[in-house]
């Protein structure tokens, strides 16, 4: 083989890799089977080529990445492991002073977020914005992004600058998974019951618009218990008030009275939720009984829904080919043992499609019939030494801290280190027939493993503080 043809092969690989990571769903022909059908060697080559492409394409366009790469002396990537020193920790998305949010300094927040995305947000005028909600409204309208945020438990919120295009791609992938479970993919009418807000900037609410667009096809098929926008200001404020209460300094926290009023309304609404859900249900049941439904959300929302239905004596409410997707979810709360049975009984389905994912990596890793989470090809999984963050070998059976590179992220950096401990068997393929790598056993949070060992200190560490707060107040 001549060196020219080798060159061509490399070029071909790169072209293919670009196609692969630009639209993973299209590349695999919108087929769930194809998605997990690629031989491991071939996928690895494709992923490496795509990783190199992403780095080359983004390294000079995302300031935070540029700075990190230069600090780590990384100019190019040769192997998968080369990317490990420049994966982002979750802290990168919240390393701005809490004061910026407290004082509505949204131009500064935009300056901060601009460092995490290829878009320059500094040209967008946010000087008139007096609240997080107003700012998000302007950003949704004037930027290519639909920023999503965390619940803000510590005074800041993480801001993840996900582009509208990336949300589209992600949800088209979900659509493929959902439709692959139907006997006739063309007969694919779904309805969605959502026992919460229709809209909001938390990632689990952001997805609703895209679900309607790509999976339901029409707004009228989406039934939310609360038709409005879940206020980000209220979420932020609730966390702040909760912290102030626990610290004994509530009276000293400066809170805009109008916002405080909204918080009260929200708390009232939360309190009245069971009654409201009763009414909501009665209405929804009538219309949706026996229909095929789709639901994607955290276990607690789902279980709430099921409990409510079962309480009203409803079982096997919907079509048996309804698709219910859930995953980990509500932080720090252990799900009741029987939650999956409750949900299946209420919906009338055989099993919940469990997925493992996170806002920072827009890939869902679904559980197969063997109960194992298979990695979606759009994300490269890594296991790191939990102490040193060095990559662990990609062979044998290995346990470590999970990290991912989301190859589909094209306007932000897809590299992300999770707080999860996973075990991957890099050798043996799964009995389910999928070629993809998968997670062996349970997923554990490192944060929940610490501090559980009866170490007592007089210092109020984060864990002690958090536990105290969780104990004293329950919210959301």
């Amino acid at each position: 083989m001549s060196s020219t043809s080798l060159q061509i092969t490399a070029d071909n690989l790169q072209q293919e890799a670009i196609r692969f990571c630009s639209d993973t769903d299209a590349y695999f022909g919108s087929s769930d089977e194809n998605l997990h059908g690629m031989p491991r060697d071939r996928l690895a080559a494709l992923q490496l080529a795509a990783l190199k492409y992403r780095f080359e394409d983004l390294k000079d366009r995302i300031p935070m990445l540029q700075q990190l790469a230069s600090r780590q002396n990384i100019a190019s990537l040769e192997t998968l492991e080369d990317v490990v020193p420049i994966l982002f920790e979750h802290t990168m998305y919240k390393s701005y002073p809490p004061m910026l949010l407290e004082k509505n300094r949204f131009a500064d927040i935009n300056k901060f977020i601009s460092r995490l995305t290829t878009y320059d947000l500094s040209t967008i005028d946010v000087s008139e914005c007096q609240s997080i909600d107003e700012w998000i409204e302007v950003m949704d309208r004037k930027s290519e992004l639909e920023i999503c945020h965390s619940s803000g438990t510590s005074g800041t919120m993480s801001f993840l600058p996900t582009s509208k295009k990336e949300w589209d791609k992600f949800t088209r992938g979900t659509r493929t998974t959902v439709r692959s479970r139907l006997a006739d993919p063309d007969d694919n009418e779904f309805y969605c019951i959502y026992p919460y807000y229709r809209d909001g900037a938390s990632s689990h609410l952001r997805i609703n618009n895209y679900c309607i667009k790509h999976i339901l096809g029409d707004e009228s098929r989406f039934y939310s218990a609360y038709p409005g926008w879940m206020s980000s200001d209220v979420l932020y404020l609730a966390a702040k008030v909760r912290a102030a209460k626990a610290n004994g300094e509530l009276d000293r926290v400066n809170i805009n009275p109008a916002l405080m009023q909204r918080l009260r309304e929200f708390e009232e609404l939360q309190q009245n939720m069971p009654a409201h859900l009763d009414t909501f249900f009665e209405h929804v049941m009538e219309e949706l009984r026996g229909k095929r439904v789709y639901f994607g959300g955290t276990w607690n929302l789902l279980h709430k829904l099921a409990e409510q239905g079962l309480k009203m004596g409803e079982e096997a409410m919907f079509a048996p080919d309804s698709v219910i997707i859930s995953g980990g979810g509500a932080k720090g709360v252990t799900p009741p043992e029987n939650w999956q049975e409750d949900v299946c009984r209420f919906f009338g389905i055989e099993r919940i499609l469990m997925g493992y994912g996170m806002s920072e990596v827009q890939q869902m890793h679904y559980q197969c019939e063997q109960g194992r989470y298979h990695f979606a090809p759009g994300a490269i999984p890594f296991l790191l030494d939990p102490d040193t963050s060095e990559p662990l070998p990609r062979s044998g059976t290995v346990t470590g801290r999970a990290a991912f590179f989301d190859l589909t992220a094209e306007t932000r950096w897809g590299g992300f280190i999770t707080g999860d401990e996973l075990t991957i068997n890099w050798e043996t393929p799964c009995a389910c027939g999928r070629q993809s790598y998968f997670i062996e056993g349970e997923i554990e949070r490192y944060s929940e493993k610490q501090g559980g060992d009866d170490k007592i200190s007089c210092a109020a560490t984060e864990n002690a503080h958090k536990e105290a707060m969780d104990f004293l107040t329950h919210f959301e």
Binding site: A246, Y446, D453, I456, C458, E462
Partner: protein, 491 residues
């Protein structure tokens, strides 16, 4: 594997029940996440012997005079010489593995253990916390205004101490307080220090196994929150007072057992701050002095204590010149950190990953933060460039401080809350301006900047007087019908 083979592999934290050493029925503890795994007698097997059912047994302590107590503690103190005491030597070796600090700091703490038991120290503790005469007998006070004569005496109680493991001195202190009060103590050790209290108890057995003070001290390890065990143990017929140090988990578990007859003395987990006035910038030498003091406040004992500063408010001004001088102070403080003696501060044992991720992320937000050091997990000084503490302030640890610029000292008062313990202040007279208000907001202890890890045991602690509360205060009211109107004559 036989029991002896298991023993060969892992250290044993024996149990001591009132002068008797117990080393069988071993079960394994710890070992998670790289922690030392150790064996200890299964407390479930000794549940009937751990508490002292009959409080009347305390009476043998009342055959001792206070001088006897002082003498005995003094002997124990002399025996707590780590150069000769094998129990201490072993405990120290093992503490290298369990302690959150490093060997040179553990060494210094162990070398100092005996000093707490010396007569002057014990008398000062007793006199300042209780008043020795109240320990020695009934004290007749001034007649009350209704004519009643009043005698008061301080009695011991049956106590359970859930001690913290971040400083070995806590074990010594608990044992001394128990002896002074003529109480019976069961010390429940934590997994980050299962050995210190035990070594002291074993030393007491060596000194005098039959001494009443030896026979009113028990030391055991079980996993905190073991409900089967704790439900049975934490009952008013077993224990009257529970003294819980730190660790919300330990307090939270205990709260469910609190009932009439069982009191909780909670030394809650706390955090500390420092407040530095503009005088710090009066001269180069003042800045150097402040830098060293500050390094000592957050770097001392490697910042494992509640007393250690984490967020530091500095009246540097928030304009460009002010921030510049704060950055200089930050650099000086970082430099001073490296010069602290190894007996009080070293490179931390294991820098927390989560904290590192937070600190490293700030390196890319230069407009708002300057991070000095931390590249080698040695500790870092984060200088906020705007008047705002980092959002992970509660996670600051392993010799990591956050310097926050302020214009007016009033801004610092906002920093004290229900979690605040120590406030290091510079200059000294700044305490006059801010002390009262900060106390109302929650601060519990003011120290001269640099002395956070220093201090005395002969003072209130955490805003309460725990030693007074560990005791029972009994009154004898003497009323003569001619002097005090009897109730049956009330109109």
């Amino acid at each position: 594997m036989t029991e002896s083979a298991i023993k060969a592999l892992r250290p044993v934290a024996n149990m001591v029940i009132r002068g008797q050493i117990i080393s069988d029925n071993l079960v394994e503890f710890g070992g998670r996440g790289g922690d030392l795994s150790f064996l200890a007698p299964d407390a479930h097997q000794y549940l009937d012997r751990l508490p002292m059912g009959n409080p009347g047994k305390l009476s043998e302590l009342y055959e001792l005079s206070f001088d006897d107590i002082v003498d005995y503690l003094s002997k124990v103190g002399d025996a707590l010489d780590v150069s000769t005491n094998e129990h201490l030597q072993q405990a120290r070796e093992l503490s290298y593995l369990t302690a959150p600090t490093t060997p040179s700091i553990v060494d210094a703490s162990y070398a100092d253990l005996g000093s707490f038991f010396q007569p002057d120290a014990v008398r000062e503790d007793a006199e300042s916390q209780i008043g020795i005469k109240y320990l020695e007998g009934w004290v007749e006070e001034q007649p009350r205004r209704n004519g009643m004569r009043l005698k008061v005496r301080c009695f011991g109680a049956r106590t359970l101490h859930i001690v913290a493991g971040n400083a070995p001195a806590i074990s010594a202190l608990s044992i001394i307080r128990n002896a002074i009060l003529r109480s019976d103590a069961l010390i429940k050790t934590p997994s980050n220090d299962p050995f210190t209290a035990l070594a002291i108890a074993q030393t007491m057995i060596d000194v005098d196994p039959q001494h009443p003070i030896t026979k009113h001290l028990s030391v055991a390890y079980w996993r905190g929150g073991d409900t089967v065990l704790e439900e049975k143990l934490y009952q008013p017929h077993n224990v009257e007072k529970i003294i819980a140090w730190g660790g919300y988990a330990s307090v939270k578990h205990v709260t469910q057992y609190i009932q009439p007859g069982l009191e909780l003395i909670s030394l809650d987990p706390k955090r500390s701050i420092s407040i530095i006035g503009k005088e710090a910038f009066d001269s180069e030498s003042a800045m150097q002095d402040v830098a060293l003091r500050l390094a000592s406040d957050f770097g001392g004992m490697n910042q494992v204590g509640c007393v250690n500063a984490r967020v530091v408010y500095v009246q540097s001004g928030t304009d460009e010149a002010g921030i510049e001088q704060l950055n200089q102070l930050g650099q000086m403080t970082y430099d001073a950190l490296a010069k602290l003696p190894a007996s009080i501060s070293t490179k931390p044992k294991a820098y927390d990953n989560e904290l590192r991720a937070h600190v490293d992320a700030l390196r890319f937000s230069e407009d708002w933060y300057r991070v000095i050091g931390g590249e080698d997990d040695e500790g870092a000084v984060i200088v906020s460039q705007i008047p705002d503490a980092v959002d992970f302030a509660t996670k600051l640890d392993h010799r990591t401080a956050n310097l926050v610029p302020i214009d007016s000292i009033d801004e610092a008062t906002a920093a004290a809350n229900a979690y605040t313990q120590t406030v290091g202040v510079y200059p000294e007279d700044l305490k006059d301006d801010i002390g009262d208000l900060l106390s109302l907001y929650g601060a519990q202890r003011f120290v001269s900047l640099g002395y956070a890890i220093s201090g005395t045991t002969a003072a209130p602690q955490d805003g309460i007087e725990p030693v007074r509360r560990m005791a029972k205060w009994i009154t004898n009211e003497i009323s003569e019908t001619g002097v005090v109107t009897p109730p049956w004559q009330w109109d």
